[in-house]
Symmetry: C2
């Protein structure tokens, strides 16, 4: 079976979220450690603002853990910008050994599962994971200049302006990472880059259903199963795909893309971006596990592995979904 | 100490290189498994050609290992294209659990060290690592349309058209991965994106000198130490930096950027791109270790973590260097 059970314990030692103004006005706004007053965060460009958010998030997470950069064996992180520059520049002056990831919106789950593997495997004692995105830097890279005011279809998602950071550790804490499953790529043939939830839904279904098959668990064994970020279109597809198997996901299933903003915040199908699931993880899931409001949570990061160039060359959109199981310590 | 010693053994089970025409005409040309007759590899675009090279490389490596995709626990890979699409599309139909990396030209070393960590940590038994680049897809993304015929300064490097794939395994073979060191980011302030060797040289020096300090080893303990890819400018800087410490690197030190092409192949300072060090690894280092021509080799992947956007916003170029120690089994 390809689900990994971490025999040596891995714990979540601390976490932090640095978010944008609109995210700060959402339902999780008061749970974020830092909320920037605007999209610039005092910087000259949106990209520099995103880099600053990355630095703010990892520094805050380390501070909450009572750790300094020298205490961390390595950092694993990524983002949506070409060449993942918000992350590498966000760690440029840290001197923390750094491993860059690219998993699109699945990055936080990819970091958690790789970081947990390093800790459980005895390779590192403490690992830092980050994932970030920024609405303005992503829009102009992937779609149109913001000033152009392009109309967005109802299936489009709103890239979150946020960076989440998590410190994983071999030392005991209130939350344990118990299992992980690395996803494979699935491409159901969707070619509409404004409907990425539909492109990623199959990968979420494939990873989750293989996980249930391999572990013998059922959805009811979890307090909450979240994907991130499929938003309204993709979430319904996952429910439908499981329905066809006779499995009702509704009682325990939600999607990070529907948890970051209020319904009135005009984000069309919901939120997206590496920062979305990272912010929901740090602003909602981890605090609830820490307070023992949840006992077991599946955090399933979904990513659309396209680029504007593959779309312009007529390619469809491959999706991926990595799963991490988080449990409150008894 | 942050150098990782792999206590549980990790072996290189097989490898393969798929390279372009110009690389096939270089000194390692007859060692490559597949050489494409032109930059298109029968595809409609350079990007699709690069995706095909990725698929060809990993399929050939698995075939040489006598393995099928279902035998591999996961694949770790990356490339230079925005959103690392040559790798994700190269694995799109594989159904192999996939983890995307971004380490610029350090990607093969990053994959080897993470893959070795997963094997040594008991998380996976068999891991596939890939890294690719393509001269034409990289030029038009990073610099100018090829048809423009822009002049290249003497410090510029030529992006290799190549993909390397390596299968790591817990089962014994002739080559063992014994140690690794994750690099930190160093930025000496170089702002000329046509002189990336200079930008990356410090990171190579920092990783190597920390490795020697932590392990007590000296350059003479190795048959060969390679960086990749600093080319002529960066290689000389590494020699000079070690000279200042009273350490003579010359007898055992070379750079992949100077090993892929003949001096008459008009590549200015030398080769670069994720595919360069991957091709030198698979076309020279691993075969020599397998034949016991080398006993111990340090493979140091160097990456420049810039993007065209960071350069246009006036940022300097951060560099990184990850180290992997490869040893012939007695």
């Amino acid at each position: 079976m390809s689900t990994v059970e971490f025999k040596n314990p891995v714990y979540v030692r601390s976490w932090a979220v640095c978010a944008g103004k609109k995210e700060g006005e959402g339902p999780l706004g008061d749970r974020f450690d830092v909320v920037c007053p605007d999209g610039r965060c005092g910087e000259k460009s949106w990209e520099k603002a995103e880099m600053k958010m990355v630095t703010t998030a990892w520094k805050t997470a380390l501070q909450k853990a009572g750790m300094s950069p020298g205490d961390v064996g390595c950092a694993l992180g990524g983002d949506l910008l070409n060449q993942c520059v918000s992350t590498s520049f966000g760690f440029r002056d840290s001197h923390i050994p750094f491993l860059g990831l690219y998993g699109a919106c699945s990055t936080m789950a990819e970091g958690l599962l790789l970081g947990s593997s390093l800790v459980a495997g005895g390779i590192q004692d403490h690992v830092l994971c980050t994932a970030s995105s920024h609405f303005c830097s992503a829009e102009r890279q992937y779609r149109y200049p913001l000033a152009y005011g392009g109309q967005r279809p109802p299936t489009a998602q709103w890239t979150a302006t946020a960076c989440g950071a998590v410190v994983l550790s071999s030392g005991k804490s209130g939350i344990r990472v118990t299992r992980a499953k690395i996803g494979s790529i699935y491409d159901p043939g969707v070619t509409d880059a404004s409907n990425m939830g539909a492109a990623m839904a199959q990968s979420a279904y494939e990873t989750l259903s293989a996980y249930f098959r391999e572990t013998g668990d059922a959805p009811a064994d979890y307090d909450l199963i979240v994907t991130g970020d499929l938003a309204s279109v993709g979430k319904q597809l996952v429910v439908d795909l499981f329905d066809a198997d006779g499995v009702d996901m509704r009682p325990v299933y939600d999607d990070c893309g529907l948890m970051l903003f209020h319904s009135g915040q005009d984000v069309h199908a919901g939120a997206s971006g590496c920062g979305c699931s990272a912010a929901v993880l740090g602003g909602y899931l981890l605090p609830a596990l820490d307070k023992k409001l949840f006992r077991r949570v599946l955090f399933c990061g979904t990513g659309a592995l396209l680029s504007p160039l593959t779309t312009s060359q007529g390619e469809s959109i491959p999706g991926i979904c990595h799963l991490v199981c988080l449990e409150a310590e008894a």
